[in-house]
């Protein structure tokens, strides 16, 4: 089974690698944004799917990365690839600052703190307009690099999924899941829960920062309300839940299915799509709280690397 999956993976990656050679501009852009959602859903999964600490403000890392990279590109003339990594680093620093105190909070407090963080970042970015352009947004020099960004975004999605694989199949991952199931018991077993949660959180914050940076470069223009909306957090949560949180391939599956559905169905029903989105959330929570993969795992006893 492992070899079948590995073979399919290599084949799929090969096809995706060749895809820009034959695709239309729209096709490339579509897949690029699909990769973006895979990376975002997967990174949310790393903290919330594994430890059970639900982050309602993950978009804060996305937006921070977008602005950090945008400023590095527009003001300091960095190449977008380095600038995006810089965006990831900025997000990780932010994650440390907020995670160190807040991950000690239990229950809904962490979720709310993250929600607050997002608002704070949005206001800060609006406030320091000398640096960020404030409400008028930040304009990057025009550059047509969809195909390069496609590869970069694809690599980011792949890297964060590989990371999920590494973590979920490791002792570190097992400890995180122990925290999710019963934090007190985990502590009693001698797991340093605070440190584990913080590590998971830092890892989980890096990728959205990189993704934000690539997003900024691809769009060529960012503004506070476009990179800090609650909607992005909600979407990544729904995608991860839909596919199966706490699994390796769940967020990938969820992002792919929902994003394709959105493009096929929702773009054609102007006013219905939000209702459909809501309906899907309700159906998922009612019938498969562990997502598609969760259900399959229950039925077929899939191995942990799925």
């Amino acid at each position: 089974m492992k070899w079948v999956i590995l073979g399919a993976l290599v084949l799929g990656l090969g096809l995706l690698g060749l895809y820009p050679l034959v695709a239309t501009g729209y096709g490339v852009r579509f897949m690029l944004q699909l990769f973006m959602w895979v990376a975002l859903a997967q990174s949310w999964n790393l903290i919330s799917g594994l430890t059970g600490y639900v982050s309602f403000g993950h978009v804060a890392f996305f937006g921070t990365g977008a602005y950090a990279a945008g400023i590095l590109i527009a003001v300091h003339g960095w190449h977008w690839a380095w600038a995006s990594l810089g965006g990831g680093a900025a997000s990780a620093v932010l994650a440390f600052l907020i995670g160190y105190p807040c991950l000690r909070l239990k229950g809904p407090y962490f979720a709310i703190a993250m929600l607050g963080l997002n608002e704070v970042m949005r206001v800060l970015v609006s406030y320091f307009e000398g640096l960020t352009g404030g409400g008028l947004g930040l304009s990057l020099p025009t550059l047509y690099a969809s195909v390069e960004i496609y590869y970069a975004m694809g690599l980011t999605a792949l890297a964060v999924t590989a990371l999920a694989h590494l973590i979920i199949t490791s002792r570190f991952g097992l400890r995180l899941m122990t925290i999710r199931e019963d934090e007190v018991a985990a502590e009693a077993m001698g797991i340093n829960t605070a440190r584990h949660k913080l590590y998971a959180f830092l890892i989980s914050a890096f990728a959205p920062g990189v993704v934000g940076g690539l997003f900024a470069r691809d769009q060529g223009y960012i503004e506070p309300i476009a990179v800090f909306p609650l909607a992005i957090t909600i979407t990544m949560i729904v995608m991860a839940l839909f596919g199966g949180k706490g699994t390796i391939w769940g967020p990938v599956l969820g992002a792919a299915v929902l994003f394709v559905l959105q493009e096929l169905v929702w773009a054609r029903f102007l006013y219905l799509h939000q209702a459909l989105f809501g309906a899907i959330i309700i159906l998922v929570v009612l019938f498969m709280p562990r997502g598609i993969l969760g259900v399959l795992q229950q039925r077929y006893r899939l191995p942990r690397y799925v």
């Binding site: 239309t24 501009g25 852009r29 008028l136 096929l264």
Partner: protein, 399 residues
Amino acid sequence: MTRAARVPFLLAALLTLAGVILGVGLVPSVAQDPIRIGASLSLTGTYAALGQNQQRGYQLCAKHVNDKGGVLGRRIEFVFYDDQSQPATGVRLYERLITQDGVDLVLGPYSSAITEAVANVNEKYKKPMVAPMASTTSIFKKGRKFIFMVQSPAEVYLEGLIDLAARNGLRTVALINEDTLFPKASIQGAIELAKKKGLQVVFVEAYPKGHTDFSAILTKIRAANPDVLGAATYFDDAVAITRQMKELNVNPKMYEVTVGGDLPKFYELLGKNAEYVYGATQWEPELPYPGTKDFVEAYRKEFPGADLSYHSAGGYAGCQVLVEGVRRARSLDGEKIRGEILKLNLNTVYGAFRVDDDGFQVAHKMVMFQWQDGKKVIVWPEDLAAGKARFPTPAWNQR
């Protein structure tokens, strides 16, 4: 059936539904080869109300063009998508319109933010895009070739105030603004204009967004005793400043707010205290532009009860400009249409349209109105004025 067994059925049902819907959507239209114009608009999300107004402008324009036999002998037809007020979605949808749906032409989305983002896509495919609802100067000054502005930029919002003040022999101006970039750009423009007209700017200060207590700033203005006060505002601050001016008896001979003063609610909230206040606007239904009256009537008939604002008229005008460009180019070639639009000197329902080599708007006039007996009366510029400005503004206790 066990609970888990239901899941594949649910999924299958969902996918079948998607398939059916998609199939329906893909049935080709059998019309006689119309010209297809693509646009993605904010039909849901933050800008929904305004985006829908703009869409109705586009739709009405298509109807009118087709009633008159279309353009190049072909009907025009819109392909609309909803960008949910999000630039990223807009970018994807324009890419889709151009490379997948193969539309012949495109028109702009709603808002500066989304226009700025999608402009790169149109630039890449050399599709001329008339962008009726983007008024941020920088979008058009980045060396792009295929984007055209319809509205007046932020910098001229206070032009009427400065001009009228200079003509009435007033000397000193105080300016205040919300500390965000659109109001700030308005103030910078006003300072330049004041210099040109020989007025002296005696006071400039910004207040943070969300500010509600203007007493400190207004006390300073009272001390500076300017002839004219220009405030670059949005709605809430415009109301609060006017109210507190009365309380503190700040009494310039002319006082204008940029944004917010044009809403009927402004007068509803302030009542008599809104009298004599000047306001800036891009367009009003009463303006004597060619076709405006017919446009307003047709709009009310076609969309009974629907909101009508400058976004609708701007959308209509943007479509007018594009169609005229195509008509003169006698072709759907992007470069040719661009060349013709750059040469256009057109009078639309939204006012004059003429752009410089960057596609930046140079002809459209902002208008200034004054609240008079509960009505907005356009008092500037002279050639569009429906009445005379009541000047000077009397003291608060004599209104």
